[in-house]
Each structure stands twice: as C-alpha cells, then as structure tokens.
Amino acid sequence: MKRISKIYVFLVMLFLYAPIFVLIVFSFNQSKSRANFTGFTFKWYKELFRNELIMTSLWNTLKIAILAAIFATILGTIAAIGMHSMKKRSRSLYMNITYMPVINPEIVTGISMMLLFVFICSVVNKVFGKGETILELGFWSVLVAHITFCVPYVVLNVLPKLRQMDNNLYEAALDLGCNPIQSFFKVIVPEILPGIMTGFLMAFTFSLDDFIITYFTNGSTLQTLPVTIYSMTRKKVNPQINALSTILFVAILIILVAMNIKQARDAKENSK
C-alpha cells in the first residue's frame, strides 16, 4: 500500500512537472527550435537582459503586482475588520459581493470591466477633453482591475483570523489607556498579521500571473509579461522567455524551500 501510494504521488508530480522540465531544458537549446535539442548554450540568458520588450514587460508586471497587492491588502484588511463587527444580515451582503469576482469567470470580469473603463473614458473625453483623448485605457485601468479581483482574497484570508481573535483584547487595550488607533495597531494587527500576509501573497501571485483580465483592460500599448508571452505563443516563443521563466522558477524554488526548512525547524522546536 505504502509503495503504491508513493508511486501514485510520483506519477502526479511527473504530470505536473513534465512541461516545466521541457521549458527549462529548451532554455539551454542552441537553436530556436522547440522540438529538437541541438546543443547546449547560455546565450538566451545573456540576450534576455538586452531584450527591451521582455524587460519592460517584466517591470510593468512587477509594478502592477506590487501596487495592486498593497492597495488590495489595505482595502481588504480594513473591510474585513468592519465586516467582523457586523450583524449577520449586512455581513452576508458584503460576503456575497466579495464572492462575486471569485466565482465569476475571469473572462466575464475582464470584458465587463473593459466596458466600464471604455465608458468612463468616453465620458471624460467628451466632458473635459472636448473631443480630444485625455484619458485612455492603460496602466490605471489594469491596476484598478487587478485591485478589484485581488481584494476578495485578502478579505477571505483576514476574516477567519479575526474570528479566532479574542474580542476582549481590544477592549482591554482601550481600558488600559490606548486610544483606538493605538490599540488597533498594537492589538488587532499583530493578531491577524498571518492572515494579512497570506492575503497579500495571494493577491501578489494572482496579479503576477493574470492574463485574461489584463488582456481585456490593457488598452493600446501596456504590455505585461503574460500579454507579451501570449502574443509570442501566436508566432514563435523566444527561448529568452524560457530563460526568464527558469530564473524565476529557481528563485521561487529557493525562497519556498528556505521557508519550508524554517517551518520544519519551528515545528521541531515546538514539539520539543
């Protein structure tokens, strides 16, 4: 039984990692072909940093992901704290709205936002621009869209932590002479910090890898990494992209392994 289950886990992992393995191997391929391995080279790694398109795309992606995650975390944490002290009925209204972007198909979120942004632009241009284009889809619209689909994940991660928290702590802090803001930062925030961190990380990850919503709201020229990759997959994917993914993959692997080791150590210490 033990052996069968180990083989089973191995097979699933093989399935998950087969394409990643292919990607990494072909980032070292001499020729541009993605079917024949003709020789080992590092040239795509060197050329990668000189490729302006990939570098600007990467920079845009990071900028949007970090900003969206920060805004979403602030907005979502505050919302969750407010929602925690609500009565059941008004909370369920908030919950329903929160679930909306989570369960809606991404393509529906994407196109509906595109319609809204186009509408906003046309109104602004008519009223303030007198026919000239002064506002158009671009960085701002992608950022707003990303914040919107990221906030729910923050709310959903912070709420359970609030429920675990002892409500009397806050009151106690007030009684001991803290003002509400002080007690908020000194008592509530440390209690729910793990939830906030998970929410932030999830928002960051989702924003980083989002293609569909960006695709519909990016306007004329804003290129994020997934958008660039998509337009490449329609012709021929430049091996430089493979190189970039390999670098990112290794970086994340190192971070996660380090976190894992630390966790394992903590767990050991706790059990002692």
Partner: protein, 270 residues
C-alpha cells in the same frame, strides 16, 4: 467594537468596479449597437448551442478527472508524515508560479505529431498518435492547469479528519470501499464542493487552452466571447449576451453545489 462603517469604502469600490460593470454588460446584452432595446442577441445565441454543450461537457469531464486524481492524492498526503506533507504541498504549489501560458505552450511541444511523446513512442515503432488538436488535448490542458485547485481544498479538509474515525469504521466492519463512501466522502464534502467550482468555472470559460491545444477546431464559449470583443467578429452586444448566459450557467452550478452544503461558507480553503 470597531465601527462597521470603515468597511464602506470597500463596498463602494466593489459596487463601482464589480456590480456596475456587470450592469453595463447586461445593458449591452439587451440592446442593439444603436442602443435600442432588443431580445435578438439572446435569441441568436441558440445557433451556438453546440459550442455551449461542448464547452460544458469538456469542463465536466475535466472536473471529474481532476476529482478522481485528487481524491486519492489528497488522502495519501493527509495521512503522510509532516515533512512529506510539507514537501508535497510545496511541489504542488510551485508550478502555479510559472506562467500558465508557457506551461500550456510546453504541452504543445510534448503532444505534437513531431513532439517529444511521439518521438519517444517512435522508438518502439508506435505511432505517431494524433494527440494535439483533439478535444482530449483540451481536457488534458484543463486538468493540468486546474488540478491544484482541486487538491488543495480536498487536502486541507482531509487533514482535519481524525484517523480514529476511519479506524472506527473499519472496526465496525467497513471495507475500504465503504469507508470511502460512508466516511471520507461525506466528511470532505465542503472541500469537494469548493474544488468542483474552482475547476469547473475556469475550465468552462477558458479560451487559451482551447486555442493552443485545440488548434482552433475545438471552439469553446470563451473563444466565442473573446472573438466578439477583440477578435475577428466584432459585436460587443452579442458578446455581452453570451457572457450573461455563461454567468447564468455558473450561478446555476453554484446554486446546486452550495445547496448541498449547509454551512455558511466563509473563506475558501486554499
């Protein structure tokens, strides 16, 4: 304790950027390009029924396969040692950090007639087997991309099931099959429901996977909608109508699955 009103900016934000856009979409769905009211868009969708049926079928198959792969996997992981669990979870999450476009593209390299799998089979004089550009390839792409979304909720709920419950059932004379049916399945139902929605929803609405692995022959609802907005058949009214139908299908599925689960759902388990 704290005032409820601090949630208000969030509500406002979500209304402006979630509810209003959906409202605009509904408005588009029921108007002509000139802006007058019509039911024509919705009526015309009937001609695309085959595509809708196909998409839903493929998504159902992908969801079922995901479930059957994930259920044993989640169970095995939840019974394994702490270290094994942690490492496996890490390995499971790791692929999600790599662009899903690239990973799907890499499947093309594997599945093509001149691809790696067929080359491998060629060594044994088998094939070439036609794999890419088939509905099967599309399902494979869906299973591949959304499998973690099924494993994670199942795992986190099974980790909470105490071993003694299973042992008790076995002591009372249940065989493995009965343990699964009578104990494991009912106890992990909330996780199953989350998993099903998290796999089914993106599967049914994808347009990337069907385009890359389906070769343009296996059109799905997502392709159809994308074409109406920034693809080759420009008609946002029609596209909005299709999106509306897609949303209704989703809501029906959610309604059914969540009626199975009587707890108030707060917080998707990831």
């Amino acid at each position: 304790m704290l005032k409820k009103s601090i949630s208000f900016p969030y509500l406002l934000w979500m209304i402006i950027f979630v509810i209003v856009p959906l409202g605009i979409m509904v408005y588009f769905a029921f108007t002509t390009s000139g802006g007058s009211f019509t039911f024509e868009n919705i009526e015309k969708i009937s001609q695309y029924t085959p595509i809708f049926i196909k998409s839903i079928n493929l998504a159902i198959i992908a969801t079922i396969i995901c479930f059957f792969i994930s259920f044993p996997l989640a169970y095995i992981l939840s019974r394994a040692s702490d270290n094994y669990q942690r490492t496996s979870m890490l390995l499971l999450m790791l692929p999600m950090w790599m662009s899903f476009l690239l990973r799907t593209y890499a499947w093309m390299t594997l599945l093509e007639n001149e691809g790696l799998i067929n080359k491998f089979l060629g060594l044994f004089n088998i094939g070439p087997v036609q794999m890419i550009n088939t509905p099967g390839a599309v399902v494979l792409g869906m299973v591949y991309n959304y499998l973690p979304f099924m494993v994670l909720p199942l795992y986190s709920i099974m980790a909470k099931i105490d071993n003694s419950v299973i042992e008790a059932a076995q002591d009372l004379g249940c065989n493995i099959f009965k343990v699964v049916i009578k104990v494991l399945l009912p106890l992990s139902l909330p996780g199953i429901i989350t998993g099903i929605t998290m796999v089914f929803v993106p599967s049914v609405s994808t347009f990337i996977i069907s385009r890359m692995l389906g070769g343009g022959q296996n059109m799905m609802i997502g392709d159809l909608i994308e074409q109406q907005f920034i693809g080759s058949t420009y008609n946002p009214n029609m596209g909005s109508a299709m999106s509306l139908i897609l949303m209704v299908i989703m809501l029906v599925v959610m309604g059914i699955t969540s009626s199975l689960d009587d707890d108030e759902r707060e917080g998707i388990v990831i």
